[in-house]
Subunit: 767 residues, 2 copies
Amino acid sequence: MKQKNKIYEVKNFSLENEQLLQYETLFHNANGYLGVRSNFEEGYPDSYQTVRGEYINGFYNFSRMNQAEKLCGLTEEKQVMPNLVDTQGIQLTVCGEPFSMFRGKILDSARILDMEKGVTIRRVIWRSPGQRELEIEITRMTSFKMLPLFTIEYRVRALNFSGSIEFFSTHIGDVRNSFSSKDPRVADGAARHLRPEAAVFTPEGFSTITSHTTTSRLTAVSMVCNRLSYPAAESREARGPAAVQEFRLNLDQGHSVTLTKYTVLCDSVHYQNCEDLAADLMKQAVSVPLSDWYHAQERYLKQFWETGNIQLEGDDALQNAITYNLYQLIQSVGKDPHSNIAAKGLSGEGYEGHYFWDTEMYIEPYFLLTRPSLAKNLIAFRYTTLDAARRNARILGHRKGALYPWRTIMGRECSGYFPSGSAQYHINGDIAYSVVNYYLTTKDFDFMVHCGAEILFETARLWMDVGNYYKGKFRINCVTGPDEYTCLVNNNYYTNVIARYNLKWAARFYRMMTEENKISPLAERLCLTREEILSFQQAADDMYLPYNQELDINPQDDSFLSKEKWDFSQTPPDSFPLLMHVHPLSLYRRQVCKQADTILAHFILEDEQPLSTMRHSYDYYEKITTHDSSLSSCIFCIMAARFGMTEKAYSYFGKSAQTDLMNTHGNTKDGLHIANMGGVYMSIVYGFGGLRIKEDGLHLAPVLPQKWGGYSFKLYFENSLLAISVKHPVCEITLLSGTEKTLFFYGKAHQLKDRLNIPLEPWGEKI
Amino acid sequence: MKQKNKIYEVKNFSLENEQLLQYETLFHNANGYLGVRSNFEEGYPDSYQTVRGEYINGFYNFSRMNQAEKLCGLTEEKQVMPNLVDTQGIQLTVCGEPFSMFRGKILDSARILDMEKGVTIRRVIWRSPGQRELEIEITRMTSFKMLPLFTIEYRVRALNFSGSIEFFSTHIGDVRNSFSSKDPRVADGAARHLRPEAAVFTPEGFSTITSHTTTSRLTAVSMVCNRLSYPAAESREARGPAAVQEFRLNLDQGHSVTLTKYTVLCDSVHYQNCEDLAADLMKQAVSVPLSDWYHAQERYLKQFWETGNIQLEGDDALQNAITYNLYQLIQSVGKDPHSNIAAKGLSGEGYEGHYFWDTEMYIEPYFLLTRPSLAKNLIAFRYTTLDAARRNARILGHRKGALYPWRTIMGRECSGYFPSGSAQYHINGDIAYSVVNYYLTTKDFDFMVHCGAEILFETARLWMDVGNYYKGKFRINCVTGPDEYTCLVNNNYYTNVIARYNLKWAARFYRMMTEENKISPLAERLCLTREEILSFQQAADDMYLPYNQELDINPQDDSFLSKEKWDFSQTPPDSFPLLMHVHPLSLYRRQVCKQADTILAHFILEDEQPLSTMRHSYDYYEKITTHDSSLSSCIFCIMAARFGMTEKAYSYFGKSAQTDLMNTHGNTKDGLHIANMGGVYMSIVYGFGGLRIKEDGLHLAPVLPQKWGGYSFKLYFENSLLAISVKHPVCEITLLSGTEKTLFFYGKAHQLKDRLNIPLEPWGEKI
């Protein structure tokens, strides 16, 4: 494996099945709307497994989910992101010999992801069993400029022969989803989600397949156009829900021929009249040379990298990993309010294309700081699904307010096991937190008036219904915190502290909007009274936050500390992740964490506890956390940096940054760990950079791991663009655009006009 | 409805579908091995629902149970009691007119359960559309003498005509189970559990169908013989997995003809070579007149009622209800160690024929006191499934000990939703409690050495693995108590107190067996050391039992009192049972009980707390208990009596006694509430009679509700038979057989030689 600049390249890559499944994920193409796994056009041997898929973000089918026992209100229907079509197929035949990497001899090969150009390339020099040598270069792109467009540029060069060449290009509507009957993290159930109509050819020669979802009454249209660079005998045929196009020609030694295959994929969630639109877009796509689309792609990414990248000095491997991770974020994020960011992006079928809290707590911060309009879309998505969240709250028995689903595509709950699903009420707080964070970073009051405040009010109302007073304190019983190894507990610290924040800010926005004369229409519509707002504030003030004086830590919940600690000395290394090997009761009954929980609370709301308590909590939980969730290491990195343990932070960072590239969780084949990728960004900016956005403004407290010469990044804050460069012995901040502002370094205010140089300080305390 | 003596009779019964479904349950025939629902031989109209079934207790098929999310160790296969065959079919045709109660006119009708004769009767006087009048009397019996035998005696009398009569008797192997997709308490899933072979006729003319379960590799054989009292043209035919026999004759006015249909049903769980056995048994069955079998049935029941009945003076309705309830217990109880008592007995398919803690805590006491050999069988069943319980413990992550399944037929867990299933670890304590109770009542030390002690040791070991020390106390985290409206809690009072009892008695039996030189073989086999026994005793001594000083009650669990109380003022009456209308989280988060939990603990282990604490607990929990479980009212009855609230006890008793006869839970059609029926017995004997079996002997503290003239019952204690008669102003105890003993009345010792007369005292305290 080799990677430099913004190139991720694997030379002479393995043809082992497991490795190919990983590459399908690692080299997938996506643009936030469309995702295509990196399958071989010609396929694998029959005995090989593959997840051959093309997906649209936010498109869904409904699927039955049987509950083993049918308790009231349990979810029995989920949404699934369907595999839509297979337009990847291109069979190449040379003088009667079909090309396959599993026959003949591979003289050279490489897979390349070019993150400046926004394309993937497979390059093969192949000697056929009949001793014909070919160079094949296949370039694939999902266009950021035209989101429904996916292109394959398939170039063949005859190295040592002249002879006949055949391309057999397929467009197949009858596809299925992949599933595993064993792994709870992978999709399950009926794998056929579409009813494709018969393929037809348009007058322009585009093959078209219109497919309807089996249960959700949605439509997806795929259109394919094949263009050859060389005169050829051509035939085409529609065979039921499939279309094939065949090209035959003679190629002279040393010459090359290119088949360009355009796919346009449109759906009825995002577009009206998607059939007509697909045809229009396809005409547009083929009306200019492919190179125009490549240039547009490069321009888009130039702009992206301009503000979106992080520069690291003195650590090429990690620099490459960071670049890879950030690129996957822009590949995954929805570009409109109808789509969000799936847990696996558009890279695979793990978690069935569902959106989780991952968005708000791990990924949104990246876009908020580098591309605020995309963050705004993500909040708008939650706003458009607010009614569904209200209905979800009723299902869970709440008379008022909204409860966001733990996992969803179109807004309804998809969680089949509620103790570690729907019971994670903290998602309401997470979304509220992200709304406030958006406001504090952008000061976009108008958006708050039209969307944000309503989310805050309705989530706050839910807390009032779920919590209750006992002994003068407001308590929240029977919920599950972020740590899924302990479920259905009382007063989970994370939940209570974020609920408090939610309630407090709901009350605050009510006051702010009252002052600005903007509250009446919304308050009337929601029947929101001043008394209700006062009850929010009172509950926030009275919120019970568990604290153990003896240990000076925040217990994860009321009973956590009374449980037995997990015996790691008796746990063989192949028993991780524990969730795959241990009954839930065995986990719930012990002090053992899948992921950061209280530590995450301390990161996002650091002013709720003294530093010493947070530090003691860190030490306590670190010993019992397995990091079986990929959402954990980055948070431990950030907080290690906060406490001055820079080298420990560096170690966590390395694990986090390499998660998918090294397949450390063993399931990269099911898709990328997108939240962790956001966590990689956060590790640098919030961790080493010490960034916090608070009411009084932007805080930084940079530290520098020994191994690094320095690092730099840019961010937007209150519509100004700042460049931050940390290089021993100073941190330099440049105001690239926007207005003068007060920034805080290591807790002290500084005025930024054009540039500031702040000497690096040790930060955090060793207690 | 009319009922007197041991007759339960409904005259001119309704033909509404819902009512017929209830009658199918209420008039079913069973003998603990075989159960037949009371379906019409001729069937209902096509639009009617019916649960037409014949079952064998302890026979099972495996059925897939999909988990919505596949967490490690969750149950994915359950056992189901299959509907085995339909041998009930008899179509009667009179001069070409088929008999149906839904055509023509019913001049008179009655359904009768005769609990002295052990038969059910349907009697109809019918006028056909063609004005022919018939008297039909159908008597059905499942024989207590020959358990695999079921008979239908079908007598027809021509009242106003002479003419042709046809009987068409069917034997159908291709049957299914009934299921509901909505009610979690009814079976679900694949309804076809058997593959029947083709029917064949034996040389004797018995039709035979051998059926194999689809997944559990078991076999059931049904054999049918039809005998007519009158010369007739006869034909027979086997048609695939069905056999029919037809009889034609001419009947003169005023005369009658009887078809006797014998069914023998044998299975491979209980018998080897069940095909041969069925044939032998059938030959035996038809070799004597049917009246011989009736006499044997009556003799069996005479003996049963001799010790098993309760006599009530001055309350006919309740007397009849008691008799009905007790009769259902003898119909339901397994007569060998391969079968137990299903939650619905053999009366329906609710709870899929599974055995629960109902056996030990609600039903076994009846047999222990009136027929100890049957109680011994029930414990032997738990002993034969001990290995399965050991394997179950491993699945739940326990290194040592055995964990009995929450619901099962053959020993493996069938609970699909573990928070209110497998997490009910108290079942281990319940079984241990029943073992000790058996010993204290019978002093059968030999059985303890061979079976009982091993159960005690293995269940005790489990508690050591599930519990842990914290702040000097032994605690049990993350289990569910009997009350299923609060799940996965810490230190459920019921669980902790019964675990303590389990641990204490395990240690005690170890010492007793050591003294008797009986411990070595078992201790060696189980690798049980003296140190381990000491740890049992220590944990018992250190067991944490939640107590709230302010309220002077035992909180149901650590956090119960901090939760909001359920708002009954906002709960419309049709919202009960709450489990059918409210999401589990809404229940778990509130103080609301489905059933007795702490109150049950106080009943079975009354010396663990001061009377005042138990009384305060009673008052506290009574207000928040819905009695949505049929296992609740009887316990509240017993404890109301204990606290001197005799009339309140009487009111609870009435509810409990009428549960199925009045269909108060609305689901009698799915089967009887057998545990509640045991609870009816307990309400009299433990409730009004004040019976407790303790280490020092038998305690009684009789009270008498105002409405009753008196009540009396018999019981075995230490191999002696006692008759207890309570009639104002005294309680008379007679030693019917056995040896002199010390008994305790109202806490004071009395010596029973032949007879004792104890003046009734007020009992319990109003605090």
